[in-house]
Symmetry: C2
Subunit: 346 residues, 2 copies
């Protein structure tokens, strides 16, 4: 007995940012029972109903015909895969029972048959919204945690700047920095986001980079004494301006595939030489290199969240059919907070 | 009793690379006896006869009207100062006796009255050429040592690339990397220098970047498996090409003021985004931050030198009046090895 299964198909390799037409809504079919095991010795599959899907900038990297990255491109014609929160509806795997909520890599479709169960994690029941496992408690949150503590090595009282600061990663970096005793400034692309940074996330200051005729001047206004830590989510012109404003022994964490826009940054970075007089360390990183810290990350964030010391904002789109526009919106900054798509309520 | 004292005067702030006319030969006067102490409580001065002066790329930084660096610009009309090897001819300082050989910051002139004696170090008598205290055992050698061990964190078997590899710093980085068990390739700007790299310094391979139509292709030919460590002495186009060829968790030490040419690198760096997928650390550094390691540096290098495991090549110009052309020559790669000027034989 098969039922219809709506899916979002990756059409073909792209250049630049994705468009809605790069993804196609398709209706496949799926059985809600796992087919009999072909190989009894292998770890069993699970069949899940997808509840929430995560829109992340790194997905653009997988839509390009570029094989030098840490993760291969999607195959044209295949279902898009990414982080999700799902409910187990059938299981051949002793680690997952029917009714369990799981998070990990799943398909952009209503139901997914998942063989790579090592990429799934069972969600322990608590009072935190399920979708937060795609943001605050998921890959973006862990990116913020690993990048801030393990790449930036923050010290109390240091001056921290964050670009794309209201995004899935930035909003948590800023709050962690405040909890650490740093002075924190963020940039964002709308006055609404700037308002959130100052009034919701507790940043000391924030500015709308689209309204600043001169980014260097904006940084000098916000940091007359210079920047110790820059958590870079965008690359390009912003990074180039920050390089002129770093303090001695400063650190720059280069994060996130949004910054692959620097591929198309016509000017190129002109100020990298400033690394020398200021002895700055600039480091690219990927959260998955720090997986051993994931348990302490969860403990730290959940503890602070339950004490009301950390908040998190999501931008929730309803319906699988709206997933393409939600993903596309990331690259023009349409989302306010972590972009999630709700596929089903339960 | 005063005697004539030839001096090289810094004319005025420059842009771009220095020209000979940016420096003026002047004949001043100096007494060979230190004037009576004005303040008996302060550390006493020494009067030295300068034997060797060091031409280093960082001097260009001091000739520009740029105050954001770690060291201030020269004052127009003043004598150029830099590293030198000198002989004490009079002393009011108990740490230095007449006849001692010292190295440290002195003037580009025949005789210098030095008040900042904390920047002088007495040379212990050994069988190493005095001028080597400006190169192998001086600031450039220590730059190689601190940068290679403290910034690059080399591991045996790693793939190391060095630009300006036959220069004052590069030639030692390459030999340290070979002693460490690395695979080492260098680039230089003449076939003579490439020959030296392969046959004198023991590099595994080398290329003349001026004869390579495509730097990226040259790097891929020399490093089919990619680069773990890049010791960057030049910045600009070379650095941009290296960024495309780094291995996962690679390290780039960004060194030397030659790379301030990147100020005028019209294209800008386009490949910094590659720091992310390869998780590369790129760090600017200055040797003076590692002064606590200087004694172990001397011990390590002198030991290897005396065993014949390290060699060093100098480019020696004769006469103070030829110091300007020697300095200017650095920026077109005219020097072969460490550029030194002999002011006097003893």
């Amino acid at each position: 007995m098969e039922i219809p299964n709506k899916q979002i198909i990756f059409r073909d390799y792209i250049e630049g940012s994705p468009k809605e037409t790069d993804m196609i809504l398709n209706v496949g079919k799926i059985s809600l029972k796992i087919p009999p095991k072909s190989s009894p010795s292998s770890g069993g599959a699970v069949l899940v109903k997808n509840l929430y899907l995560s829109c992340d900038p790194y997905l653009r990297g997988r839509m390009r015909n570029f094989h030098e990255s840490y993760i291969p491109p999607f195959s044209p014609g295949s279902v898009i895969v990414g982080f999700g929160v799902s409910k187990v509806v059938d299981s051949d795997n002793e680690n997952f029972k029917i009714g369990d909520f799981v998070t990990g890599i799943t398909g952009w479709e209503e139901y997914s048959l998942i063989h790579k169960t090592e990429l799934l994690r069972k969600i322990q029941s608590d009072n935190i919204p399920l979708s937060y496992h795609l943001g605050l408690l998921g890959m973006p949150g862990f990116t913020a945690y690993a990048g801030f503590y393990e790449v930036c090595f923050p010290k109390k009282g240091e001056f921290v700047f964050i670009s794309a600061a209201s995004g899935a990663v930035g909003q948590l970096v800023g709050q962690l920095a405040k909890l650490h005793g740093c002075y924190v400034v963020g940039s964002a692309g709308t006055s609404q986001k700037v308002h959130l940074l100052k009034n919701k996330f507790g940043f000391d200051d924030a500015f709308n980079y689209k309204e600043e005729p001169n980014i260097d001047a904006a940084l000098k206004r916000c940091f007359p004494q210079g920047i110790d830590i820059y958590f870079d989510n965008v690359g390009g012109e912003m990074l180039d301006a920050v390089l002129l404003n770093m303090r001695t022994h400063g650190r720059i964490a280069v994060c996130g595939m949004v910054s692959q826009q620097s591929l198309s940054y016509a000017e190129g970075l002109k100020n990298v030489f400033m690394l020398i007089p200021k002895r700055v360390k600039m480091q690219g990183f990927i959260q998955s290199d720090y997986q051993h810290l994931f348990p302490q990350f969860l403990e730290h964030i959940i503890g602070n969240y339950k004490q009301g010391k950390i908040v998190y904002i999501e931008d929730m789109n309803e319906g699988l059919e709206n997933a393409p526009s939600a993903l596309v919106g990331l690259f023009s900054g349409k989302n306010v907070g972590k972009q999630v798509v709700r596929v089903a309520h339960s």
